[in-house]
């Protein structure tokens, strides 16, 4: 038998209180949850890009990335889209109700490794959630990073997540040496058009890759971090490679069915032949180099 690291039941979730629910869109809500056990707060050390298994009794668990970053993780923010049984059940909960949480899981983004470099964050839709944690971390430790550029694509003004925050950064981000670019898909979106009138150099109608036309992106000492729907990766990566980004300068975070979150249940296994990985344990953050070597990853 192999060496065993004994923790108490790793599959046992901890009760957390929903202290605040913010409606973001018709199908997305931001849940602020607070661990009930002080013990857990101390044990809960995480980095941006990690996720938790969020459970509702009688329904089950779903992997949700943490979309906030605080030194003291007493309160986690989880942006949850109502798409399946579990997330539907979560959406039915009210402030004061309990959620059952396990984690944090996954590798997260190598924030230390990227220190001293420029960051290019590219988010599409709900993919902005984990990148928001990266952004919060980087802004809190602003001096450790070079230029920060954010591309954020969404369908329409109404479907823009964390709207207030990002509009604030859109307008005032330069003060924190942050350049935020937005793209919206809906051609008839009047509110976005107004934003374009206000600051046309930072917003474009179309898919997120259109933002590459808006600004010069240099691969020099830069890491690109991407999160969005699976379809987005190929196009974004293509643009980055065109601009001479090396595969190991590009970070992606992946979605898969992750039942356990700890590399046991097998659902998130990806790859073929020589390279097979667990998305939950070896990822969900991978470099594009990993993706090139792991068939079926993106």
């Amino acid at each position: 038998m192999v060496r065993v690291e004994v923790i108490d039941n790793v599959l046992a979730p901890s009760p957390s209180r929903i202290i605040k629910i913010e409606k973001m869109t018709e199908i997305e809500r931001l849940f602020h949850v607070k661990f009930l056990s002080r013990d857990l707060v101390e044990r809960f050390v995480y980095r941006p890009g990690q996720f938790v298994e969020v459970g509702v009794t009688g329904v089950g668990e779903a992997p949700i990335s943490i979309c906030s970053w605080r030194e003291e993780p007493e309160i986690l923010e989880l942006c949850i889209r109502r798409v399946g049984r579990v997330t539907n059940a979560i959406h039915r909960l009210k402030e004061g109700d309990l959620l059952w949480i396990r984690g944090p899981y996954g590798n997260g983004f190598p924030m230390e490794e990227m220190e001293g470099s420029n960051l290019l964050l590219i988010a599409g839709g709900l993919g902005v959630a984990p990148l928001r944690a990266v952004l919060q971390y980087a802004l809190k430790n602003r001096e450790r990073y070079g230029e920060i550029t954010v591309f954020y694509g969404f369908k329409s003004y109404e479907l823009m997540l964390f709207r207030e925050e990002f509009l604030y950064l859109f307008r005032e981000g330069d003060e924190q040496k942050l350049r935020l670019y937005l793209s919206y898909e809906d051609q008839n979106d009047e509110k976005c058009k107004r934003l374009a009138e206000e600051r046309g150099e930072r917003i474009v109608q179309g898919v997120v890759t259109k933002l590459f036309e808006k600004t010069e992106i240099s691969p020099e000492n830069t890491y690109a971090i991407i999160c969005g729907p699976p379809i987005m990766y190929k196009f974004v990566v293509k643009e980055l490679i065109k601009r001479n980004f090396k595969p190991w300068q590009i970070y992606l975070t992946l979605e898969r069915r992750m039942r356990c979150g700890i590399g046991k249940c097998g659902h998130c296994i990806v790859g073929e032949g020589n390279s097979i990985k667990y998305v939950c344990k070896d990822g969900p953050v991978f470099t594009y180099w990993d993706a090139l070597n792991t068939k079926g990853m993106i």
Partner: protein
């Protein structure tokens, strides 16, 4: 390693004495040609010349379908469900299955140990037994036809009893406690053991060339072979459920009639099933049978966890209702 001899006339007494280490489970005939590990109280309930059980002994460590938690919403409580007495003696486990458990140990015990697995694994005694290959066994090719560790005792049948290898401290304790039943091995016993091992190796008919297998699999990504077998494949999941190295499980919650309490159940899963790669919202990372079949062969042929993920037990071939032959597929992939 310590070697001893268990004379045939002491076999029954030895078996009986094992009961103090927990309930004994051994291979019992289940159908006309199938076997299962079942609880036994006497030697003759078992058929120790069995070829393979339907489901592997993994079931003793990760239950086929088991309640892992009970919850109570009113009391905001999540209670783990762990059996009172996890002590078991698995009698007559084959070398391939021992190797498979070594892989499962890595999965379930290395970083973030699964408590259920750990409790049961710590409390189980594994008694290996020699087997004779049939036409579906290819453990010799996989390097798993002989277990050098991973057991407590291993029994090799010789003419007047068993040549016993003692593989662990627990095994040592057992033989120490049953001193009177064991003899030291004589030179004749050693010769017989050697002869029988040689003879056994010669019995293997099926072979699989492993050299470069991972590359062959990757290179076969677009091969017609997958389409061909996916057409035959019923997608029933049997290959996974009988596989000793498959580790996938699913988790389901149930609510009791009082609507405020319930249970969380875990059940063996299969990557051949549609839902395996499905995420909320309907996106499926392996939407077709071709992708699922290819994924399974890749997973089995991989070195995930740093070792081969197949032990050559032959179960997937024997129990495939569509008659898909695992070795045949891999041979085609490798161009043999």
């Amino acid at each position: 390693m310590m070697y001893l001899k268990l004379p045939r006339e002491d076999f029954d007494a030895f078996f009986k004495n094992l009961q103090e280490y927990g309930k004994i489970y051994g291979p019992v005939k289940a159908g006309s040609s199938a076997y299962n590990f079942k609880e036994v109280t006497t030697l003759d309930e078992m058929d120790l010349s069995y070829n393979r059980t339907i489901v592997p002994p993994k079931k003793f460590f990760v239950g086929l379908k088991e309640k892992i938690f009970e919850f109570d919403e009113k009391r905001a409580e999540f209670r783990e469900v762990i059996e009172d007495d996890p002590r078991k003696v698995i009698f007559g486990i084959h070398s391939c299955d021992i190797h498979a458990l070594k892989l499962l140990d890595k999965i379930y015990l290395e970083d973030m140990a699964d408590k259920y697995y750990l409790e049961r694994r710590r409390n189980a005694i594994l008694i290996g037994i020699d087997c004779h290959p049939d036409e579906h066994c290819f453990c010799k090719s996989m390097g798993t036809s002989y277990a050098t560790d991973g057991f407590d005792l291993f029994l090799h049948e010789i003419s007047d009893g068993f040549f016993v290898r003692v593989g662990s401290m627990k095994g040592h304790e057992i033989v120490a406690k049953n001193k009177g039943l064991f003899d030291p091995v004589g030179s004749e016993d050693i010769e017989e053991f050697k002869r029988s091992q040689k003879k056994r190796l010669d019995e293997f008919k099926l072979e699989l060339n492993l050299s470069g297998l991972q590359d062959m699999l990757e290179l076969a990504h677009n091969s017609q072979i997958w389409d061909e077998y996916a057409e035959k494949c019923l997608g029933c999941g049997t290959c996974n459920l009988v596989c000793p190295t498959c580790r996938c499980y699913d988790v389901i919650d149930f609510v009791n009639l009082d609507i405020t309490t319930g249970e969380r159940v875990r059940r063996w899963d299969s990557c051949m099933l549609r839902r395996h790669g499905l995420v909320a919202g309907g996106l499926n990372f392996r939407p077709t049978r071709v992708e699922r079949l290819r994924n399974r062969f890749n997973c089995k042929g991989s070195l995930l966890e740093g070792m081969l993920n197949c032990v050559g037990c032959g179960r997937c071939t024997v129990y495939c209702p569509a008659g898909i032959d695992y070795v045949e597929v891999l041979r085609k992939i490798a161009g043999d």
